[in-house]
């Protein structure tokens, strides 16, 4: 229903027959836009100093990165036991941790093994995040077991009430469909059999005195179905009694973790997260091979993806839509906003509809961009951007002089380029740069010569409000 305005109508130069394509995003910036929650000048300097491969390897070894200053700050932000504790801790880590890649992967795993804190507890979500972080560069089998035994998952998918006399299929079904094999690779009878395998998987409160301060995995042998189970998958068990009954589930999880269908499904999602909505068949097969040949080693898999030549060549740069969480964190990091109120910022993440521990469905928030392009989602990002550059969120104050110098840039052209470089890596069409230039020049023209920051700032906010809402700003 839209007609396209001519450049004349836009007061844009008509001599440009075809707009110059936006400047390519450098390999370093592209890497940071995916392997971190948003490029910062410090991170860029690190990549440039170390080189891409060495930077990736350093990030793949998160404990080699000193993050103590930030981790010491974390407990002052929120208690992990609070209802929204896990949300705020994950948000703060995404913004401020130097172990960016590990938190990126943890963010992915938390969503892959989605749980909803309305049906769990804040502390079990916090603990689950911490466990995923600790093990994110071990094997898929390890994190699959972490998830299966996580009190959050046990509450969320009803393992707690899955007992021999009345199996509950909730966990078994989502384990097969969402966490591992995917639809089409198992039968309904398998779901029923696997529900029996996991009977007795439960959790128990951890007490401090008489107060529950968390919970931990507990296998209840007395409600475990000890009979034999067979599946169409080529896996069966004679059934074990007593405390050995837990081994049925553990063995089956290991079977799933190394199954070819799991490799395909999980690695495809991982590539959608790091590379693009439709990763090429070549990249995908190389990533699946890295996963399968290493026994599901996530460190080697992520390394293979990020160092793949098809990732490196930038062909997928600026093609991933920021979900709401990513948009918020990216903006805060790019503008270098310090001392924000993470509770207020977390509330805004909720308005952008993808809070990490509140997904209403077990499939998790979508990885594909189309889901985040509805007008409501677009507007929620636009509103956030406008509020952010106008200092209306959680005490966050735009550090204009840090970003653009003690003296405001004197021309519209300098403003347009500086803001686009900062927020969109310069990846906007030349026509847009020109339009932004004219827009800002018209405002600067209303000010006296050598204007102060106080005089320029309202107009800088106007321009920033446009730049942060550009189509390119929705992408990374």
């Amino acid at each position: 229903m839209h007609r396209t305005l001519s450049r004349r109508e836009l007061c844009l130069p008509t001599s440009v027959a075809k707009p110059a394509p936006p400047p390519p995003v450098t390999a370093e910036v592209h890497l940071l836009s995916r392997a971190t929650f948003g490029p910062t000048p410090q991170a860029l300097a690190e990549v440039q100093a170390l080189g891409i491969a060495a930077w990736v390897d350093r990030q793949l070894d998160p404990y080699s990165i000193d993050d103590r200053a930030f981790e010491a700050l974390l407990p002052t932000l929120v208690a992990p036991t609070a209802n929204n504790g896990a949300d705020i801790r994950l948000l703060a880590r995404a913004i401020y941790s130097k172990r960016q890649l590990a938190w990126r992967l943890t963010h992915f795993l938390n969503n892959h093994f989605s749980t909803n804190r309305v049906e769990t507890t804040g502390i079990s979500e916090s603990n689950e995040d911490d466990t995923f972080f600790k093990h994110c560069f071990t094997t898929f089998g390890t994190v699959l077991r972490d998830s299966a035994q996580s009190p959050a998952m046990i509450d969320y998918l009803d393992s707690q009430s899955n007992i021999a006399i009345a199996p509950n299929e909730n966990y078994a079904r989502e384990l097969l469909e969402l966490h591992t094999l995917g639809v089409g690779n198992y039968t309904e009878a398998d779901v029923a059999a696997i529900a029996r395998v996991f009977t007795g998987w439960a959790r128990v409160n951890v007490l401090s005195g008489t107060t529950a301060v968390g919970s931990s995995f507990l296998f209840r042998a007395n409600v475990h179905d000890t009979g034999p189970k067979t599946t169409s998958l080529g896996w069966s068990t004679p059934g074990f009694s007593g405390s050995a009954g837990v081994n049925e589930g553990l063995q089956f999880l290991q079977f799933l973790a190394t199954h070819g269908a799991t490799a395909t499904r999980f690695v495809t999602k991982l590539c959608q997260y790091f590379v693009g909505d439709q990763p090429s068949a070549g990249l995908l097969s190389r990533a699946v091979r890295a996963f399968s040949s290493s026994g599901g080693d996530l460190q080697q898999t992520v390394r293979a993806i990020l160092l793949d030549h098809e990732f490196q060549n930038g062909s997928t740069a600026k093609t991933k839509v920021h979900d709401g969480f990513e948009f918020v964190v990216n903006a805060v990091r790019r503008f270098g906003l310090a001392a924000i109120n993470t509770t207020a910022m977390n509330t805004r993440v909720g308005l952008l509809r993808c809070p990490p521990h509140l997904c209403p469905v077990p499939i998790g928030h979508p990885e594909l961009g189309g889901a985040w392009q509805g007008s409501g989602n677009v507007l929620s990002r636009w509103d956030f951007a406008d509020d952010l550059v106008n200092d209306r969120i959680g005490g966050a104050v735009m550090p204009w002089t840090t970003l653009f110098g003690a003296t405001p840039p004197p021309t519209g052209a300098l403003w347009a380029v500086a803001l686009c470089d900062r927020f969109v890596d310069g990846a906007v069409p030349a026509t847009t740069i020109l339009a932004l230039t004219v827009f800002m020049d018209a405002r600067l023209a209303t000010l006296p010569a050598n204007p102060t920051w106080a005089q320029v700032r309202p107009h800088a906010r106007e321009l920033a409000s446009v730049v942060t809402r550009l189509p390119e700003s929705q992408l990374h």
Binding site: T4, S161, E188, K320, R353, D386
Partner: protein, 417 residues
């Protein structure tokens, strides 16, 4: 290109926007320009009960002797029972969940406009939430392509009023039923259709979005431009509405919560005569693997109160409106060990509208006898959801291409309309 649109664009041109120091166009002038003529359009509202609603506790077969045996502690009790969740009588076999007083009243009224189709589904069935939601929304036999049934209908028809927007989802993103080549729109709340910030910033951003040459860009980048453009379309189209201060008519009282809010907003849009033919709205939270009795009651109450308020509010405008509910599956007939129910097969659909053959439970009822159950565990899907949708599409919306919209389906009349 519609007249409201060209008015907006003419205004933009006149403003020579990019360099304008200040554009002082009154917002209300734009809102007035955005208001198309009032027309009467047939409307279908699709209400999706996400999670797999336990229809055996919403429209409960309390007259089936097997029901109480299979659901000894969670089942709905027959009307007149001294205790428990006592159902509201529908007919000799069925009673409605007691929380659904409004819908029950409409169902039992003279010239009833509410019909229930029980034992709805498709074969071969699928008990995955996500696969089955996709099937219900694509109305295809497999989900190898994501092309929604609403979208396919829109592709082969034209708007009777040349409306710029024919399908709107009150959701953060499009439902699969609206996926496809025909442009459909999604916004979680019409209250969100406001541009935060100055008018001239808005016009400037809009001009950039609309005028940038996107040929040669990656598909994701083109989509980002289209999304921005669609967002401005919706802001303009809805500029004359005031959802925040909208007062429902006829004393209608919408329940608190997302569903009531969405239906209230849809009612305002329908009354504004914008020509939108399809609305999609969700009610989430139906996946009751445990504690069914306490979990389902608030949802049943909300569903009934919201739909009742919606038709009360619409008043005379309601004659053009059919609301249909669907869910990806029903639940297992027998309760599980957690006083809940696991994923099942046959479910139910409610159809509410002026031309509906109301006051009846329609379709074939296979019953709950052991031999009648699908795989011995599930309500058999004796009635195909596509036949219900087809009757709405053909007899209410005037659709003439059911073979395109429901490919491969051999129609078995149900008689909803």
């Amino acid at each position: 290109m519609t007249h409201h649109d060209s008015t907006r664009r003419t205004f933009l041109q006149a403003s020579a926007l990019a360099g304008a120091a200040a554009i002082t166009a009154p917002a209300n002038a734009m809102a007035a320009a955005a208001k198309p003529r009032r027309t009467s359009t047939k409307v279908t509202v699709v209400l999706f009960q996400r999670g797999g609603a336990d229809h055996l506790n919403l429209y409960a077969p309390t007259g089936d002797a097997n029901y109480a045996t299979l659901r000894p502690t969670i089942g709905v009790a027959p009307p007149g029972s001294p205790s428990g969740t006592v159902g509201l009588a529908m007919n000799a076999t069925f009673s409605m969940h007691p929380g659904m007083t409004g819908i029950h009243a409409a169902y039992t009224a003279a010239n009833s406009k509410v019909a229930i189709v029980q034992a709805v589904g498709y074969q071969p069935y699928n008990r995955s939430h996500f696969v089955s939601q996709d099937l219900y929304e694509t109305a295809l036999q497999t989900t190898t392509t994501f092309d929604g049934w609403i979208n396919r209908h829109l592709q082969v028809t034209t708007s009777p009023t040349q409306a710029p927007v024919r399908a709107l989802a009150l959701r953060g993103s499009l439902p699969v039923s609206m996926y496809g080549a025909y442009p459909c729109y999604a916004v979680a709340s019409t209250q969100e259709l406001v541009f935060g910030g100055a008018v001239d910033s808005r016009l400037f951003l809009e001009a950039i979005v609309d005028s940038t040459v996107t040929a040669g860009m990656a598909p994701a980048q083109q989509l980002a431009y289209q999304s921005g453009s669609s967002t401005f379309d919706l802001i303009d189209l809805f500029g004359g509405l005031d959802p925040l201060n909208y007062v429902p008519a006829n004393g209608a009282v919408y329940p608190a919560g997302a569903l009531g809010k969405s239906l209230r907003e849809i009612a305002e849009v329908i009354k504004a005569g914008l020509g939108i033919e399809f609305f999609a709205v969700d009610q989430g939270g139906w996946d009751h693997h445990h504690s069914l009795v306490t979990s389902i009651a608030p949802l049943a109450i909300e569903l009934s109160a919201a739909v009742t308020a919606f038709f009360t509010d619409l008043g005379a405008a309601g004659v053009d409106v059919v609301l249909v509910t669907m869910s990806e599956f029903g639940r297992e007939v027998q309760q599980n060990g957690s006083s809940g129910t696991d994923h099942g097969v046959g479910g139910a659909m409610m159809v509410h509208g002026d031309a509906v053959n109301g006051g009846q439970v329609l379709g074939t009822w296979p019953g709950l006898a052991p031999a009648a159950l699908q795989d011995g565990r599930f309500l058999a899907p004796s009635n195909d959801y596509r036949d219900v949708l087809r009757e709405i599409l053909v007899q209410h919306m005037g659709g003439t291409n059911p073979a395109t919209v429901f490919p491969g389906r051999v129609y078995q009349p149900i008689g909803v309309l």
